[in-house]
Amino acid sequence: MLEWCKKYLTKEKLHRFFFGTKEKQGFLKQFTTYALLIAIGFIYLYPVLYMFSTSFMNQNDLLDSSVKWIPSTLYVQNYIDAGRSMEFWTSFVKGIVIAGVPTVLSVVSTMIAGYGFATFSFRGKKILMALLIFSYILPSQVTMIPTYVLYSNLKMTGSLMAFVLPALFGNGLNAPIFILIFYQFFRQVPKVLIEAAQIDGAGYFKSFVRIAIPSAGPAILTVFLFCFVWYWNESYLTELYVKGIASTKSFWENLVIQLKDFNTNYSDRLSTGDAATSLSESVRMAATALTILPLLIMYFFLQRHFVESIDRTGITGE
């Protein structure tokens, strides 16, 4: 045995094993990479894991210090109570409308603007590009109050129009980023394709619809996902414009806003005897889980396309 060891475990071999060669990574480096990835991955997952595990705990588990991660029973009542308090299904459908309609409009309008910037050269283009970047860097708080005044003058607060109208004109949430993504993408589409279409008699608009849009699949998917997620998560502006902060009870309340007012709503329900468990952190965590669950499900289904499309879109540009 010792002989064998001496024969095969030479110093060079050990060195090669631990530090690798030019072609192959060594064991040490691989080990640190994986260790770091797993450790940081755990940090990333920690809040989510914490949320899910706490949301299934009942009152006894919360108090019992021996129960830390795994609840003794799967206590689903938390979810039922939280869902009832948030009016889950109606808020869910409203949330999809609030996020979905502006998203579709925003994708279309930013795509048109991005195509215009990418394919045509016209006077004033540089100034417009500078304006575009400026409008991104400008903090939104500056424009918030006059915009609010404008909307309330037009009687648009408390309705979906306050989100739809800016999205229609390519000025929705984070629209400059999307315009830049499309700009970057359409610049990569070979000009020859569009020229060939034009020689065959297609106008500018037709070549856009027939050539540019069908080739922009990955970019559209990326922008759509980002836009939807950002609109879904935006609670500040939703509360201000769509729900209408002045009115106490409004028609447009999505899950995120329900979560924001969760504590007061839930205690109201509790006092009328509508909920079974008292307000505890597990109910709150259940509500949080319900809020992000739709996005998580969507993400798990679309993540393959999502990652691939990011590879191909060239989200960054040069």
Binding site: Y50, A113, G116, L132, T143, A246, R284, L296, T316
Partner: protein
């Protein structure tokens, strides 16, 4: 605008195709332009106008000019706002480098050859999906945001001995919310990752053939190539942190906007917003100044060499000029017969 016109003027009249192109370009961009004017530019000007007024909402807006009254009111009566502003500045300046560097490290690890790449990507892109104000608030308030084993108070005490208290406090909150800080780097990881994938692998091969180690490859190839992305990420982070709902300042602005007392209101809130915006812009400019120098070392060397050559040329010219002048002087002097030259006649 005038400068642009001047630059384009020598091109002469536009041809028919160019005219058509120009019209089409404007047609495509026009909706955005209208929206930009209506929803960003005009509101911005209006809000600048609002600062100088006390505004009451009574069946329409009632304006009363008070000059710089709103600003002095913030300065004198609202210590919370100023204090939060200082905390915000320190936190941003501390957090942005951490987020960017962290995002770069993770992006590089995700980009290297590892198994289960899809799985890791799934985890690290999760924050892109979840980051939203109320969800974050819930998680932070339930203590899901900090690592329980980390004792922050000792860290704060340690820093407090040699730094101002506000800075030490910011560092303490930074450690306390470490997970949240790391969570904010979702989009940044994405941007870095797609930038890393665009680097030509041939560059690395060439460097390896010339005997470069991975360390050198990182500093000499990877970092210079993605340098613009670092700037973009830093700016994105600043903007994100400033408009994030965890930020107490924007909630303060909102409460001031709808406050029932007569002292505050739209005018006061706009003044707050402008001060805040100014600070954010200054921070963005700071990062521009730190990261934005476009030239790399090669360019700088070339420039220095050019400058040296110019200097030399100037020197040569100067010498030539002087010698010419001297020659002229001598000529003149000789004409005036100040010097007598030997013309070959008579005795020397």
């Amino acid at each position: 605008m005038s400068k642009q016109k001047k630059a384009k003027a020598p091109r002469g009249k536009l041809g028919r195709l160019e005219k058509k192109q120009e019209r089409a370009g404007w047609a495509f961009v026009f909706p955005w332009f209208v929206g930009m004017m209506a929803f960003t530019f005009i509101p911005m000007c209006e809000s600048f106008y609002y600062i100088w007024f006390k505004i009451k909402v009574r069946r329409g807006l009632e304006f009363k000019f008070i000059g710089t009254g709103n600003l002095t009111q913030i300065w004198l009566e609202d210590p919370d706002f100023l204090q939060n502003l200082v905390t915000y500045i320190w936190q941003t300046i501390l957090e942005v480098p951490i987020i960017v560097v962290f995002a770069l490290i993770i992006a590089m690890m995700l980009n290297s050859k590892i198994k289960a790449r899809g799985f890791f990507r799934l985890i690290f892109f999760l924050p892109v999906i979840i980051v939203s104000g109320p969800v974050m608030n819930m998680l932070v308030s339930e203590g899901a945001a900090s690592i329980p084993a980390l004792n922050t108070q000792s860290v704060v005490n340690a820093f407090d001995t040699f730094l101002p208290t506000s800075v030490a406090q910011s560092i303490g909150t930074l450690f306390g919310n470490m997970i949240m800080v790391l969570w904010y780097s979702g989009v940044q990881i994405l941007i870095f990752l797609s930038a890393l994938q665009k680097i030509d692998p041939g560059l690395y091969e060439a460097a390896k053939i010339d005997g470069g180690s991975q360390w050198e490859c990182f500093w000499k190839i990877t970092l210079p190539t993605i340098k613009p992305m670092i700037l973009i990420n830093a700016i994105y982070t600043v903007i994100f942190l400033s408009s994030n709902e965890q930020n107490t300042l924007i909630t303060m602005i909102k409460t001031a906007m709808f406050s029932a007392t007569a002292e505050r209101g739209y005018g006061y809130a706009t003044a707050m917003a402008w001060i805040y915006a100014l600070v954010v812009t200054l921070i963005v400019l700071l990062f521009f100044a730190l990261l934005g120098s476009k030239k790399d070392i090669y360019d700088r060397m070339v420039k220095r060499r050019k400058r040296a050559m110019k200097k030399e040329a100037r020197l040569v010219k100067k010498i030539e000029r002087r010698s010419a002048r001297n020659v002229k002087k001598l000529e003149k002097a000789r004409k005036k017969r100040k010097y007598r030259t030997y013309d070959g006649s008579g005795d020397y």
